[in-house]
């Protein structure tokens, strides 16, 4: 287990931190919101592509070293700090992992270079209800002679409102709830029968409901073997949860720093409010939680790169801890800012709104607590 970054990873982290602070501050998200961009910003994507951020876990040639998930985690943590809306989690992490874990040689050859270059964006079309439940899939993929026909509805798909390609989890066998019988498909957003309904979400990042009506895809669209998509989906979701935890850690850290700054400047009763013990203790407790969560996120990222056997357990640990943390810190951020925290002009509200989306995606804290207990045999 390594908790210390390599020099290359350290440089990547610094590059990402200066990018978000310089070019993607919270005011950037605010401006996108105010002009109705719904988190969709080609200019941001161009900057990320220029820096090579889409290809952080994609080797230049087979077997070559990458920055690893630890490296990508640093970028996601950075974007979490300023709440930047980017396609990195969906495209650079989820799609890159899904294709590397389960893609055919042809799929890898076609898509991985495009992902790395920032030329194609992806979205994982998974959830069908308002709560994360990865095997509860009713979307059908029926064999039709030359491939499959898809029918169903996917809800709240992050980046779904602008992605070029969807990775669709559909059922080729069994019933909603079964692990066996799920298959993964690559479906272009322009395919006939695909309807994308853009959603205006509370965090201003946007998302989409996506319906599939008699959408035909060829056999070549199948990622991994039919019916056994969960073998790819499970590790992909673990990695997505870990990546999201890194982003949440960044958001929590930034909301905490902002709160600390306020405590050190705002005066009441002729005193800095940060000199009041009730606020000091709450700040100190948040800091302890931050430090603990940082360890969990680092351990989970590192475990993926090291090919450890306890990735699932650490993913649940990281997502649950990060969920609790960002929930606590975003609420305290609003509370400790007092009336200012309730205004749209200030930033605490942005952190609280984004936090709830981060908490819900890829399993809430309670979903992961339950899984953690199951993995530990009780």
């Amino acid at each position: 287990m390594s908790f210390v970054l390599t020099e290359d990873q350290e440089m990547l982290r610094e590059t990402a931190m200066s990018l978000v602070q310089g070019e993607l501050p919270v005011s950037h998200l605010r401006a996108l919101r105010d002009k109705g961009a719904n988190g969709n910003d080609p200019e941001t994507r161009r900057k990320l592509a220029e820096l090579g951020f889409f290809g952080v876990i994609i080797p230049d040639e087979p077997g070559a070293e990458t920055f690893g998930l630890v490296g990508l985690g640093q970028i996601l943590e950075a974007q979490g700090r300023t709440l930047a809306a980017t396609p990195l989690l969906q495209t650079a992490l989820i799609a890159a992992c899904a294709l590397q874990l389960g893609g055919t040689p042809a799929q890898k050859a076609e898509w991985l270079p495009k992902i790395a270059a920032g030329e194609a964006t992806f979205a994982l079309a998974l959830d069908e209800s308002a709560h994360f439940s990865p095997y509860t899939i009713a979307t059908e993929a029926e064999r039709d002679g030359q491939g499959f026909t898809l029918n169903g509805l996917k809800k709240y798909v992050p980046d779904g409102h602008y992605a070029d390609v969807f990775i669709v989890a559909a059922r080729t066998f069994g019933e909603a709830g079964d692990r066996h019988g799920i298959s993964l498909f690559l479906v272009p957003s322009t395919a006939k029968g695909v309807t994308v309904t853009a959603l205006k979400t509370v965090d201003s990042h946007g998302a989409a409901h996506i319906s599939f009506e008699d959408v035909h895809v060829p056999d070549a669209a199948l990622i991994g073997p039919a019916d056994q998509g969960a073998d790819i989906l499970d590790p992909v979701i673990d990695r997505a949860a870990i990546g999201m935890s890194a982003e949440m850690l960044g958001s929590a850290q930034a909301a905490f720093d902002m709160t600390l700054d306020y405590l050190n400047n705002r005066k009441q009763f002729g005193q800095l409010i940060g000199s009041f013990q009730s606020l000091q203790h709450r700040a100190a407790k948040m800091f302890v939680e931050l430090e603990m969560t940082r360890s969990c996120v680092a351990a989970a990222l590192g475990a993926v790169d090291a090919g450890k056997a306890d990735v699932a357990e650490l993913a649940s640990l990281a997502k649950a801890k990060a969920g609790e943390l960002v929930h606590l810190v975003s609420n305290e951020c609003v509370q400790m800012h007092g009336g200012i925290g309730m205004t749209d002009a200030a930033e605490p509200g942005f952190y609280m709104k984004r936090a709830r989306v981060q908490e819900a995606l890829y399993g809430s804290a309670s979903w992961h607590r339950d899984r953690y207990a199951r993995l530990n045999g009780f």
């Binding site: 203790h281 339950d370 207990a373």
Partner: protein
């Protein structure tokens, strides 16, 4: 000897392994019974004669504290070698040869603040377990506000004269010597404190054990009446004791959190999830039937895992030279919460089985849990209360200001 490459480190491993094979007695490779813990000291008794053999051999080698300098009888190992030794000790499941406040708290502080003669005089006997030390810090009127201590120490020309009272002095009734905070200037608070050492057999010293809610008496009230102390037993400069006191508290908090508090686990005691399964039962999927308790046990298990990962992370970062400052307070706070939560859950999962005090009708281990649960309430009080640790974090780490 410095081993700076992997090959030399492997050589050291081979040597250490060979030495341990030859010198670690067989019974010292078995789980330690509660009554076989060795605290050393001039009145030490050894229930198991091999405990003494093991202590003598490790002490002679300086491996009771492998990284302390050779010139004072320490092992003189580098950090890397010490880690190898740790691994080798763990490999054969060797017992710690010595439990000692001297090793954990006083020794590290003396090595930093003591003069050469003091180190030569005291450090070797700490390493060999020949002197058992106790800590004279808290007083009836100076707990969290430790710097408010009143035990007087007057300069009588040829010696110091000490009068006053300490409390919560761990094992004062069994200790040989005390490291003690005393007031040498009444006109200043922090700057009027000195750090002094004396023999517990000195005339005028009396230790009275205090019975705790757990039924045990690990702590004492300690009284000093006209205790004469030679002048060369003052550590550091007169009125300069507070810096030593604070540094020593860091060692204390670190040793408390590294051990996750003595009494955690122990032979035969299971986790709360095991007792819950046993006494409440599980559904067909193996889940604890009481869903609410299951959730709280999970919370605790996650906290404990996050805590141990944090200890690992800070160790690695410190090794890589990355500043981690004031981690002792963070870890002490976390360790107290973790151990108290664990014991509350153990008691809850055990139900009435965990509410026995003595005698027949209760499982032996369950009774042990009950006592440990009561003992754990001290975790957030001793070595700096949780509230004091939160103060330290707020002010020293987060830079929040003092109330005016």
């Amino acid at each position: 000897m410095a081993y700076d490459n992997a090959e030399q480190l492997e050589e050291f491993r081979v040597e250490a392994r060979k030495w341990l094979e030859e010198n670690c007695p067989p019974s010292m490779r078995t789980p330690m019974a509660d009554d076989e813990v060795v605290w050393g000291g001039r009145n030490a008794t050894f229930k198991n004669p091999e405990s003494k053999l093991w202590l003598d051999r490790m002490g002679e080698k300086g491996w009771t504290s492998p990284e302390w300098p050779k010139e004072y009888g320490g092992g003189g190992l580098t950090r890397a070698e010490a880690r190898v030794l740790e691994q080798e000790l763990r490999r054969i499941k060797a017992r710690p040869p010595l439990f000692s406040f001297g090793l954990w708290m006083f020794g590290p502080a003396l090595l930093e603040f003591g003069n050469h003669e003091q180190k030569l005089r005291f450090i070797p006997d700490i390493l060999k377990g020949k002197t058992r030390w106790c800590q004279g810090y808290s007083e009836p009127g100076a707990g969290s506000d430790l710097a408010g201590l009143q035990t007087r120490c007057e300069d009588k020309g040829g010696h110091y004269l000490i009068n006053g009272q300490k409390v919560w002095t761990s094992y004062a009734d069994r200790a040989d010597w005390i490291f003690c905070l005393v007031r040498t200037d009444t006109s200043a608070k922090h700057e009027g404190i000195s750090f002094i050492l004396f023999d517990m057999k000195s005339p005028g010293v009396e230790a009275r054990p205090i019975q705790l809610i757990s039924g045990e008496s690990p702590f004492c009230e300690t009284f000093f009446t006209d205790v004469k102390v030679p002048k060369d037993q003052l550590v550091g400069r007169l009125n300069g004791g507070w810096d030593i006191a604070k540094r020593l508290l860091q060692f204390e908090r670190s040793s408390i959190s590294a051990g996750g508090f003595g009494g955690t686990g122990g032979s035969g005691i299971l986790g709360p999830e095991d007792y819950a399964k046993q006494h409440i039962g599980t559904d067909e999927a193996g889940r604890i039937l009481d869903g609410d308790l299951r959730g709280r046990i999970t919370d605790h298990r996650m906290y404990a895992k996050a805590f141990s990962l944090t200890v690992q992370r800070q160790t690695e970062q410190a090794k890589a030279g990355q500043a981690v400052g004031h981690t002792a307070s963070i870890l002490k706070y976390g360790a107290a919460k973790m151990n108290q939560d664990r014991h509350e859950l153990l008691i809850e999962a055990l139900g009435t089985e965990g509410l026995g005090w003595d005698g027949e009708g209760f499982d032996k281990n369950a009774k042990k849990v009950t006592r440990q649960w009561l003992r754990s309430k001290g975790n957030s009080i001793e070595g700096g209360t949780s509230e004091i640790n939160l103060n330290v974090i707020a002010k020293r780490v987060l830079g929040l200001k003092e109330h005016q």
